[in-house]
């Protein structure tokens, strides 16, 4: 009797499980459609790209990409790469010691400090935009990629501190104590023990910082100007006459998203780990 009940519920579970898996597939397909459509349009010729009804089976073409290439995308891509990579590096260099001071040997009132870091994220960056703009203008940093590096560093630092603190908090303290007994100083400790142990945390924090810097538009638009144009700003210049060159716009969107997509797909598990922020563990 009991066995029969178990059997029946197992059968039901199987059917329900199949439905749930199908639902997961359907939802995932719905979420990916805009991206698939963007990629397909990027590979269409301009006159097929904007057809109604859509020209699904139109011959593929790389003319969208060659149009994009003709717009000289390399300088803005390099600006974005510089701003994102260098600011991410700065963030890690500043955040790791801070996270150490907030977790392994916590300073007094460390929760207040954490609170302060997060609260700076609550101040919409736009509220400090004018002073930043004026300072950059008067110091000759307007239209300079280094002003973006500095601002992206401050923009991502609080989140990185949060993420890294939670990873450091999970570190076995005994290892550090042992190394201290052996006479290791702060930098040796960092280099030899902390960094290798929190590598997954560092990687996911770096990924998040890279994504947010690469994606940023408002500050880049305001402070980067034309001389330090980043990829998203470059992209805004593509719409001159209401999406007339849809294939070109889509090709540009694909090309500019590619670095983040590649990094994100490669490090999915780290992303999951990192986004949980461990703050809730």
């Amino acid at each position: 009797m009991a066995a029969a009940v178990v059997n029946r519920s197992a059968g039901q579970n199987k059917r329900a499980g199949g439905l749930l898996s199908a639902a997961a597939w359907v939802i995932a397909v719905l979420f990916i459609i805009p991206i698939l459509w963007m990629v397909l349009t990027a590979f269409h010729q301009e006159n097929d790209a904007a057809k109604n009804p859509p020209a699904f089976f139109a011959p593929l073409s790389t003319s969208g990409f060659s149009d994009f290439w003709a717009a000289k995308p390399i300088p803005p891509m390099l600006n974005s790469l510089t701003a994102s990579l260098v600011s991410t590096l700065f963030v890690l260099c500043l955040a790791l010691p801070a996270a150490y001071a907030l977790s392994i040997k916590p300073v007094r009132k460390w929760t207040d400090v954490m609170f302060f870091f997060l609260s700076t994220k609550f101040m919409p960056i736009v509220a400090g935009l004018l002073p930043l703009y004026l300072v950059a203008k008067n110091t000759g940093l307007l239209g300079n990629v280094w002003s973006l590096v500095l601002i992206y560093t401050s923009m991502n630092l609080p989140i990185a501190v949060w993420m890294l603190r939670s990873f450091l908090a999970e570190m076995p303290i005994e290892i550090l104590e042992a190394s201290q007994v052996d006479g290791a100083g702060f930098f040796t400790q960092m280099y030899k023990i902390v960094i290798p142990l929190v590598m997954p945390g560092l990687a996911s924090a770096a990924l998040i910082c890279f994504i947010f810097s690469w994606n940023e538009l408002l500050l880049a638009n305001t402070l980067g100007g034309n001389t330090a144009q980043t990829a998203p700003v470059f992209l805004t210049g593509f719409v001159t006459s209401q999406g007339l060159f849809l294939a070109k716009v889509c090709a540009a969107a694909v090309a500019i998203s590619l670095p983040v997509l590649a990094a994100g797909f490669a490090a999915q598990d780290k992303l999951v780990q990192g986004l949980s922020l461990g703050a809730v563990k």
Binding site: S21, K109, F122, A127, P232, C250, V260, F265, V272
Partner: protein
Amino acid sequence: MTTASLDPSGAVAAPTAPPGADPETKRRARREGWKRRLPLMPAFIFVVIMTQLPFLATIFISFSNWTAFSGNKGFAGLDNFKTVFQDSDARSAVITTIELTVLVVLISLVFGIGIALLLDRTFRGRGIVRTMMIAPFLIVPEAAALVWKHALFNVQSGLFNGLITQFYNWFGLKNPPQPDWITSHPLGTIVTALVWQWTPFMMLIMLAGLQGRPMDIIEAAQVDGANTWQIFTKMTLPHMRRYIELAGLLGAIYIVQNFEYVYTITSGGQNTANLPYYIQQTFFAGTGEYGVASAAGVVVVIGTIIIATFALRTVLSVLKEES
């Protein structure tokens, strides 16, 4: 923006000399305190300089008559704030920001939880499904905004209307409806695109939360005859509470500040200008009214702090539980 006295129990572990201790002990405790603080200082000072000082300057400018062209920096008293509160565009920007943030956070949270639950089971192709689900979060927002506007919602060239035409053609029907999505539902189109982009973010945090569930207890409950719904409401949701709060908080931080979608999809038309867009426009378009825009910035920050304080209380309670 400091919260020095919010958490009296925050004093953890750090050695403090007991009152009446001899000077040598006190000095050593102080030195130890600074040694602990030192690694924190570069990050702390950098953040203060880059985020707090500009805001102080914004407050200062908000009381001045400064515009891009006047060069007149005289004291304006509360005039700029009066202008902001009397400006219907500014009021509308406040309301839009709240609507946008609340709608997007709530919808993408619900979707995120649901999809995470679907993905928390083993089934064929789970890895592919997860990869597909993450993708929207990884598309550059400005690129996504352009694609939503021109390749999906557009009346003539958009995929949605194209599909409607296609279906009508298949069934031999004439005159397919061709709704102008952006004009008829300006805020709805922005919300749709934002939900699409942020659901994966919520889902990722929920997945991390689900992975930390105590499965042994849930299995025990199953053996005791608890049904799926009971397990979900009585065990999974309470366990997920902190993750939900955290995801909502982080999502709100980024969605409040969203600029790309409003800028690109509607250019702030039809009451869709949110505060970042409004402030950016006041600063850099037209007459460049620095004083008024700064006042608007100050109002934004005060409003955000009020909302954030409630939200951050919950985070603070998480930290307290941990310590």
